[in-house]
């Protein structure tokens, strides 16, 4: 099975430590190794925050610059990835507060009818609508949802990235997912089954 870019980068902790030590000793070029390893995860994380490729790259660049400035504050007893993702989350959060991307959830697109899910194009459109609806969630629920899926459904990692207790993140995540389920009821298999029982129609066909 192919390893995710985050997992691949996390396996290189020793190299991160070595590069940080070199940078702090005055070798600016050593930062390139850090950028090379983490550019993918940071751009993808930013992409999930804004779903705009150009903006995602700008935000990831800002996060890396912020990390560069604060490199001396990283304590090697904590994971480099956690530290870096926390910085990135702060940068992305601040950036999106200044220039929001998404309309309110009520204005986000939703599937018109279950039957329209039948064709492949419609299916793709609805997947994209769901992803965009995540951005339209209220701020306190959006970030836990974004980070939970970005960290491959690892609540602990999402909580550490946000600097919040796991319980808080779980509660916000549950609320965020509830809002999405209400907005996209036909994507929920249970709702589909209920719909079939009440109408006698298969919503997917």
């Amino acid at each position: 099975m192919q390893e995710s870019p985050i997992a691949a980068a996390e396996h290189e902790t020793d190299r991160d430590s070595a590069d940080v030590a070199r940078v702090l000793a005055g070798d600016v070029g050593a930062f390139e190794g850090i950028v090379r390893r983490w550019q993918g995860p940071l751009v993808n994380m930013a992409w999930r925050y804004c779903r705009d490729r150009g903006r995602a790259e700008e935000m990831a660049q800002d996060a890396l610059i912020r990390a560069w400035r604060g490199l001396a504050s990283w304590r090697s007893e904590s994971s480099f990835s956690t530290w870096l993702f926390s910085i990135a989350a702060n940068v992305y959060r601040t950036e999106l507060k200044r220039f929001p991307t998404a309309p309110p959830l009520e204005e986000a697109a939703e599937p018109a009818t279950p039957a329209s899910q039948a064709d492949e194009f419609e299916d793709r459109r609805q997947r994209e609508a769901l992803r965009r609806a995540v951005l339209a969630l209220p701020h306190r629920y959006r970030e836990p949802v974004v980070l939970f899926y970005f960290h491959e459904m690892d609540v602990g990692m999402a909580a550490r990235t946000m600097g919040l207790p796991e319980g808080t993140v779980k509660a916000r995540l549950a609320r965020g997912r509830d809002l999405l389920r209400k907005r996209f009821p036909y994507l929920n298999p249970k709702a589909e089954a209920t719909h079939m029982m009440s109408t006698g129609k298969d919503p997917v066909r």
Binding site: V35, I65, Y149, M153, V155
Partner: protein, 129 residues
């Protein structure tokens, strides 16, 4: 460790869609762009830290002066309140009224000059000019 949200109960369509988001590959110039900014930052002169040690006496002096002025102002207002009358002002008090602004202006000028001299001295010490 992955969480129980991965359990079958929760692994609904929303989870499947959001967990399977597409992976972006950073553009070819991304790395070079970051390193260019990093190198620019590395050669830029470090920001001058605020000289708290030098500024603190001045700030304490300024705070004290302002406090004293407020105290004097309130005292003057309270002292002059009972003296309000429709009688013609005496010569002495007229002279006092004329002199009072002059004294204040002189004091304000001296304070400004002192502040300017202090700021200049601090700036010269840190080679701003």
């Amino acid at each position: 460790m992955k969480h129980e949200f991965q359990s079958a109960e929760y692994a609904d369509a929303i989870d499947r869609i959001l967990a399977a988001d597409e992976e972006l590959v950073p553009s070819s110039g991304f790395l070079a762009g970051v390193m260019e900014r990093v190198r620019d930052e590395a050669i830029a002169p470090r920001p001058i830290p605020f000289p708290w040690k030098l500024a603190l006496p001045g700030m304490v002096l300024a705070a004290g002066t302002i406090g004293w002025l407020i105290y004097e102002f309130i005292r003057t207002v309270l002292d002059s309140a009972p003296d309000i009358s429709f009688a013609a002002p005496r010569l002495a008090s007229t002279t006092q009224m004329v002199l009072s602004p002059v004294v204040w202006i002189a004091f304000a000028l001296a304070l400004s000059l002192g502040s300017w001299a202090l700021a200049r001295r601090i700036a010269r010490n840190y080679r701003v000019f």
